[in-house]
Amino acid sequence: MMGGMEEKVRDFIRANFADAVVREDNFRNQQSFYIRAEELVHVCRALWEDPELDVRFLSDITSLDWLGHEEEKHGRFEVIYNLYSLRHKYRLFLKVRLGGDNPHIGTLSHIWAGANLMEREVWDMMGIVFDGHPDLTKLLTPDEFEGHPLRKDFPLTYEQPQFSWNKDEPPEVIR
């Protein structure tokens, strides 16, 4: 079932979104597609609507920061959408690369209500803006907290929370 599904999804995406796919990848039997940012919502919507594929479960949204790595040339940030088909027991990953300054991408919260919290966490931790999100506020860090802790240039030393009273003292940056 897994093998068949893999080809079906590949054919579906290639047939309908040939221009949207930047790269395909299969590492340790996990299928992923690198999608252009502006096409992501359309691809997700199409996967969700297709009765044959039935990719209706958004398992997770997460993000990576490639600062200082040679991968950075494809875009500093990577947002990963972890989709799952409950009927076919099949998982696929859609990945999007975003540039370093002011990264932003369309929200999925109107397709999946579950995306709401996940996108808030990515915004809080990695500083990626989700356009059209109904309530893009901090999730884990306090309101006074500045910065996005999972970015690679976030200082690790010094008073961990950079509140307003100590932000003038320059922290040492280590990676």
Binding site: Q30, H69, N82
Partner: protein
């Protein structure tokens, strides 16, 4: 509150005994009816994902215990399976069976705590003492295995920290026998208890469609009748060899989830028995020099083992460039580890898919338009652990 305003906004928590930790829910009430509920989290945020980025792969493991502290072995297992997938290594048969047994003990442990606290929230104090008494049996098994009651870190990359204790089978059998009897007591106290039924039946309802749309998993999803259990859908660690039933609910209310979790305890005990019956002989660690620590007794007498031990502890190992995702069925739902490797000896990023947090997203849907007292029941029946919600 002004004379004109119809609603009043109150904070429930972060310090509230029925929020199971430091959850804060901002409630907008009209009389006693909830108009809007908004969970506010982050009070227990400790940066576990960030911490793991600066540790070697095997040294990042203890951080996983501290997320869902009621299910340490599940977290260990998820992380270890993910790293093993990344490294493409296989573990001996005995390790798989032992891991399954330990993961199921963890499920029983977590569900017992849930049962005790949930019943206590709804006014049934006795359950709490009963379930915590039985939980001690599991804590004793943990202590015999890993030397600790809660933060065991017993499941390691490539195997186990140490061989199973010699009386492991006896202890597990004692537990399964005792608990099966006592489950009847629990049921006698709650299942037909009119107060409990009135507080839970038809409360905190979530439909199957909403459950999928909200990305729920675990008992919350199955309670609404959706057949998704990672153990059945994408078996890991040899679960395909075990015989067990996937418990399903029909109504998607708190009472269904109560029955479902009780059934899950029974199935978990059944799996534990099978694991003890069929536990194969063999090593408790894979033999992968340079990645998996050599057994302790070898280090004292073999030069090569000592060198490998030293190198693994100081330098670690370098998995290939790439990213893997490994999901397992923790007591709370699908806990997944997304590990990205940049080819260095430390993980580039470890993302934990936190079932508690994502399940908590269902709270507004469950309680809006209902009474304030139902909020307590809804929070309890979601079964959150704030250590995992906030990480």
């Amino acid at each position: 509150v002004t004379a004109e305003s119809k609603t009043i906004t109150i904070n429930m928590g972060p310090q509230h005994p029925a929020t199971h930790g430091v959850l804060r829910v901002v409630l907008e009430l009209e009389g006693e009816t909830v108009v809007r509920a908004r969970p506010v989290v982050g009070y227990l945020h400790t940066g576990i994902e960030k911490t793991m980025e600066s540790k070697l792969y095997n040294k990042a493991l203890p951080a996983t215990d501290r997320m869902d502290y009621l299910a340490p072995m599940s977290n260990n297992l998820g992380y270890c399976l993910a790293v093993e997938k990344l490294l493409d290594i296989d573990v001996p048969e005995k390790v798989r069976w032992a891991r399954v047994c330990l993961a199921e003990l963890t499920r029983v442990n977590s569900h017992l705590v849930w049962l005790g606290t949930h019943a206590m929230d709804l006014g049934a104090m006795t359950m709490f003492f009963y379930t915590f008494r039985e939980r001690e049996l599991i804590m004793d098994i943990y202590e015999a295995c890993g030397g600790q009651r809660m933060m065991t870190s017993y499941i390691r990359i490539g195997g186990l920290a140490d061989d199973l204790p010699s009386d492991f089978d006896k202890r597990v059998r004692n537990l399964t026998r005792t608990l099966r009897e006592r489950m009847n007591d629990y049921e006698g106290l709650l299942t037909h208890n009119e107060i409990f039924i009135n507080r839970t039946k038809g409360v905190a309802v979530i439909s199957a469609e909403d459950a999928i749309n909200l990305s729920l998993s675990g008992p919350l999803l199955r309670g609404s009748g959706v057949k998704y259990d990672v153990r059945k859908a994408n078996p890991y660690s040899g679960y395909e060899k075990f015989d067990f039933e996937m418990a399903l609910g029909t109504q998607g209310d708190a009472y269904d989830r109560y029955l479902l979790r009780l059934e899950e305890i029974r199935q978990a005990l059944h799996i534990c028995d099978q694991a003890i019956d069929g536990m194969p002989e063999g090593p408790y660690r894979a033999h992968v020099p340079g990645v998996v620590l050599p057994p302790k007794e070898d280090i004292l007498y073999k030069m090569e083992s000592l060198i490998f031990h030293f190198k693994i502890i100081t330098e670690g190992y370098r998995p290939p460039f790439g990213a893997v995702y490994q999901a397992i069925e923790s007591p709370k739902g699908e806990i997944g580890f997304y590990i990205s490797s940049d080819g260095s000896n430390k993980p580039h990023r470890v993302r934990v898919r936190p079932p508690s947090l994502i399940n908590l997203g269902a709270l507004p849907k469950m309680v809006e338009g209902r009474l304030l007292a139902d909020v307590i029941c809804a929070i309890g029946s979601i079964d959150i652990v704030l250590g995992e919600v906030d990480r």
